[in-house]
């Protein structure tokens, strides 16, 4: 009952937001992000701590400014996930020829995505290019209507909370579908080094490349000054990851090395307040 009511409240909230211009929605998202950032010690301190360790060349003032800016971008990006089709004309997809060829080969691709800006624009952009995409998402029980948002955006979503979600994902990979998986979050699966710190990472994207024998790509989204988005899709490996544990581990580390470069390029777009380097 509680989840049902919360879901209804969230739907009402989104409906109210949609009555306003995108500029107003952005202003509200930034205001809300600032309130949370200033009031939540955990959010603020974790973001500042993560940035300080990853980018030690920054001073305290710069760290705090970056932490707040990135949090504002993430909150606004999260809001915008509820109306992805509206962003169609405000999204530019950047993709080199080799990557485009791999995407259109109709042989399936495994795409590692990042929590940057409006991160669900990544699978949305892929479905724009290919007509179909499958993704995996941990949909909270109190936001059941999120599935409807994916449907509206023509994204097939497998709910991570459902029993045997992995088997559904592997079946989709087997059918040579394009699969987008968030790959920059913490998971106790493979040890990696990220910003010179030891941590663990999910193996999903590299593993699916090995299992389904598909290329391994990276896709990330950034918000530009003019309020438009740029979604970049690039090739990490044009040939499938070898089907063994060592190769999957190596490919996952290669992903993270590339993630680090991307985050250094666009530090204000990544989700710094997430507990990425947990023990």
């Amino acid at each position: 009952m509680k989840n049902y009511l919360l879901d209804k409240i969230i739907r009402l909230f989104v409906w109210c937001l949609l009555r306003f211009s995108r500029q107003t929605r952005r202003a509200f998202a930034h205001w809300l992000a600032t309130q949370i950032f200033n009031r939540s010690n955990k959010t603020r301190l974790r973001a500042c701590d993560n940035i300080a360790k990853a980018l030690p060349e920054m001073d305290e003032e710069q760290i705090k400014e970056l932490a707040l800016t990135s949090y504002k971008n993430i909150v606004f990006g999260l809001f915008e996930c509820f109306w992805l089709p509206e962003l169609d004309k405000k999204t530019k997809i950047v993709c080199d020829e080799q990557t485009l060829e791999l995407l259109h080969h109709n042989n399936g691709v495994s795409i590692a995505t990042m929590h940057m800006s409006c991160y669900e624009l990544a699978p949305f952009a892929v479905q724009k290019l290919l007509g179909a995409v499958t993704t995996l998402s941990k949909i909270p029980p109190f936001v059941r209507s999120a599935k409807h948002c994916y449907q509206q955006a023509n994204i097939t979503v497998i709910d991570k909370n459902q029993p045997h979600a992995l088997l559904s994902l592997m079946t989709a990979a087997r059918k040579k579908q394009a699969i987008c998986l968030h790959a920059d979050h913490y998971a106790n699966e493979l040890p990696i080094s990220f910003f010179s710190r030891k941590t663990s990472a999910p193996s999903g994207a590299a593993m699916l490349s090995a299992y389904a024998k598909t290329p391994l790509l990276i896709c990330y989204c950034t918000l530009k000054e003019n309020g438009h988005y740029q979604v970049v899709i690039e090739t990490l490996r044009s040939t499938p990851v070898d089907y063994n544990k060592a190769a999957i581990a190596q490919a996952t580390q290669a992903l993270y090395s590339r993630f680090e470069q991307i985050i250094r390029q666009h530090p204000e777009q990544w989700y710094w307040s997430y507990n990425r380097w947990r023990k």
Partner: protein, 86 residues
């Protein structure tokens, strides 16, 4: 070595689970934390190497991995045609 013994050996090799006590009725998926995403993938790899099969032929469903018996049956369907052609 019969198929059940071979499958138990694959489970041990891939997932580092002591499979000696497993019977055909023993539950697998949901019963062992090793049966996570990496684990299932490793097991499929082990099956490919042990039985010289394409793991894509194996039905990917919760029922297939529910018990040892179900897994053995699923492999039986895939392995027998390979043996016949050999």
């Amino acid at each position: 070595m019969n198929l059940e013994t071979q499958v138990k050996s694959c489970i041990h090799n891939a997932l580092n689970i002591d499979s000696s006590h497993l019977t055909l009725e023993s539950p697998l998926l949901g019963n062992y934390p090793e049966f996570d995403s990496m684990g299932i993938m490793m097991l499929l790899m082990e099956f490919e190497q042990t039985f010289a099969i394409d793991s894509n032929l194996l039905e990917l469903s919760a029922e297939t991995f529910a018990t040892l018996g179900a897994l053995v049956l699923a492999l039986q369907d895939v392995c027998i045609p390979v043996k016949q052609s050999a």
